[in-house]
């Protein structure tokens, strides 16, 4: 099993690596880091501009593959992701922002997966009953709503709630209240309240996808012979469903988890921007608008590593659930 997972990890590792290189090349071709210096008044001399761009390693006169190679060597030898156009190391910027993004992403996707799997199993067991219909149409409604609309609608609802309560119950702008001081507990609580709305939005998106998939897989399992066998040998219905049904129905879910993680990453990036968190989403946005090639490459690497870990995790889950893979 260890070898199997290792092989999958190596496969994903190379995919992520090449995807990052591809993103580096594409962003080098798409972005023009020199443009903003030409727009300055007084305009710096060509020599100055070249010096700045060479210092950042983004001079468009150097062949792009040469720059990519330098970037990779720098990453492997010095563990550095280069310097951004603002003069701050990309690695430091990402480290200071990654926590914000990871917190939202991890909490949101875990709760979303739990809620989705539960709703999916429940919907399959109670197929075509009212509760199943409500969940089904609810998830279609969420599919039909862009992520940022869900975020803004939650904001409007929270404002209405605050207005009705006459107090600031739910704070939702930014990641924490500026200038708040107090005990560790107060600060944590404050961050938790700020995290509430984006997490709800992410859970809704995740649960909608997972519940549909889990429901259809569970329906196929429910009609399988081994469930009837389990019932026939005297297991209660609930026990047969959970011990024999859900466990088998989770196997394809582990693969689906890896596929859908990318959707959740882009969803959480959008939500961060909507709720003005200073996370990786804002970083990526700024990188594009400032034509910061190193920052775009760093962001891509961050996302690629996330996907690498989630894919490997889903392979581990798959192997743990499905005894056929282990041998």
């Amino acid at each position: 099993m260890a070898f199997y997972i290792f092989r999958r990890f190596v496969n994903y590792f190379f995919l992520s690596l090449i995807a990052t290189c591809l993103a580096y090349v594409v962003s080098s071709l798409a972005l023009d880091p020199a443009a903003k210096y030409y727009g300055r008044n007084p305009q710096p001399t060509q020599q100055t501009i070249d010096n700045i761009l060479d210092g950042l390693g983004v001079n468009p006169n150097v062949p792009v593959l040469q720059r990519l190679w330098d970037w990779l060597v720098n990453l492997v030898v010095h563990g550095s992701l280069g310097t951004g156009v603002n003069g701050v190391s990309i690695g430091d910027q990402i480290i200071s922002r990654a926590g914000v993004s990871l917190r939202l992403l991890l909490i949101g996707s875990l709760i979303g997966a739990l809620v989705g799997v539960t709703l999916g199993v429940w919907g399959a067991v109670r197929q075509y009953k009212l509760s199943d219909q409500v969940v089904t149409y609810g998830s279609y409604l969420i599919f039909a709503t862009p992520t940022f609309v869900i975020g803004v609608l939650l904001m409007i609802a929270a404002t209405a709630l605050n207005g009705a309560a006459g107090a600031q119950l739910i704070n939702f702008t930014g990641e924490y209240s500026a200038g708040l001081s107090g005990s560790w507990w107060d600060l944590t609580l404050d961050r938790g309240v700020h995290l509430l709305l984006p997490t709800i939005a992410l859970v809704l998106i995740g649960a909608a996808g997972y519940s549909r998939y889990q429901r259809s897989v569970m329906l196929d399992v429910l009609s399988a012979d081994f469930i009837r066998t389990a019932r026939a040998k005297g297991r209660s219905r609930n026990s047969a469903l959970v011990r024999h049904g859900v466990r088998v129905a989770l196997i394809p879910m582990s693969t689906f988890f890896a596929y859908s993680f990318g959707t959740l990453v882009s969803g959480s990036i959008m939500l961060e921007i909507v709720f003005s968190f200073h996370g990786m989403g804002e970083f990526a946005l700024n990188a594009i608008s400032q034509s910061d090639i190193n920052a775009v490459a760093g962001t891509t690497l961050f996302v690629a590593i996330l996907i690498l870990f989630s894919s490997t995790l889903s392979e581990v889950l798959y192997a743990a659930l499905d005894p056929r893979v282990r041998n």
Binding site: L15, I18, V26, D32, Y140, V152, D220, L222, G262, V303
Partner: protein, 316 residues
């Protein structure tokens, strides 16, 4: 979302055998068996979801086309006497801060979003059909290379790829945006088509055609694609939803449609800052968008059930 449907559809065999033809004589032509297409259509018309979705979409299409003709205000003109007002009899959806009519703007934005969705969705399906069937049919090195490319594109979320590429289509028209959206939405469907093609390739009718010397292009067009057509129709329908979602999201964050063009995404971006104080600026375009996409998803869902009625029947 798309993965859910495709895997769902994949669970049942898309190649349903036709009912046996009655042994007719040469004198009286045999009673024609109901073709698969007509069977699916018949099943489709039995579901209420399909009709709800189809009628809603028909109404929305007609509204987007005819609405501007039946309304006195246009999308760019200003009404200085009624700035920042909520919905009134004069301005049905209200006006924005500089007195532009939101109803007229919503209709223009809806047109643009619908056009982009209706082009990009089927275009993505077309790419998926070509890549998937070629990879599955040819096998060998071509297959490995194509599968590898698919996996590569799947590693990074397509939203991020589109954002990175956005400076490229900054100065270009919305047509390029449409092509880019289609270019990043075909991967999962291509995998499904590939696996179906691999199993079809060894069927007798395909083998017969191959041994008769029919070129690959014709085999794919005559035998492979028609057998996965139902999957492709579902994917094209749901692809419209995915494309409109991609367009509005990109435009909302400033990477898609740009001024002077208007889409539902740009309208929502403008409406967000005032979403709490002047909710109509956000709620009306958002509502129109959600109703449109919901209706298309209903059609897609009904199609999936019509194509594969045995999947997901609880026999407990």
């Amino acid at each position: 979302m798309s993965l859910v449907e495709e895997t769902n559809a994949e669970l049942g065999s898309p190649v349903v055998p036709l009912p046996p033809q009655p042994l007719g004589t040469e004198v009286t032509p045999p009673k024609k068996a109901r073709s698969r297409g007509r069977l699916i259509w018949w099943r489709l018309t039995q579901t209420s979801r399909f009709w709800v979705g189809a009628v809603t979409i028909a109404v929305i299409l007609a509204w987007a086309l005819l609405g501007p003709l039946l309304y006195p205000y246009n999308a760019t003109g200003r009404d200085p006497l009624n700035m920042g007002l909520g919905p009134t009899q004069l301005h049905w959806f209200g006006t924005n801060g500089i007195g532009q009519d939101l109803y007229a703007q919503t209709l223009v934005g809806l047109q643009k979003s619908l056009v982009i969705g209706l082009i990009a969705g089927p275009l993505g399906t077309l790419i998926a059909a070509v890549v998937g069937s070629v990879a599955g049919y040819m096998g060998g090195v071509v297959d490995r290379v194509l599968v590898w490319c698919i996996n590569l594109l799947l590693v990074l979320p397509s939203f991020i790829l589109l954002v990175i590429l956005s400076p490229l289509f900054k100065g270009l028209s919305w047509v390029f945006l449409t092509v880019f959206i289609a270019g990043f939405s075909w991967m999962i469907m291509a995998q499904v088509v590939r696996s179906q093609t691999k199993s079809l390739r060894d069927r007798d009718f395909v083998k017969a055609a191959r041994y008769m010397g029919v070129p690959m292009r014709k085999i794919l067009g005559r035998h492979i694609i028609p057998n996965v057509a139902s999957l492709l129709i579902i994917d094209a329908t749901l692809g419209v939803v995915a494309a409109i979602l991609a367009e509005t999201s990109l435009s909302y964050f400033g990477f898609g449609i740009r001024a002077p063009d208007v889409s539902l995404g740009t309208l929502l971006a403008e409406g967000t800052s005032a979403a709490v104080t002047r909710p109509w600026l956000f709620v009306f375009p958002a509502g129109v968008l959600i109703v449109t996409l919901f209706a298309v998803s209903l059609i897609g869902d009904a199609l999936r059930d019509a194509v594969d009625p045995t999947s997901g029947v609880n026999r407990d």
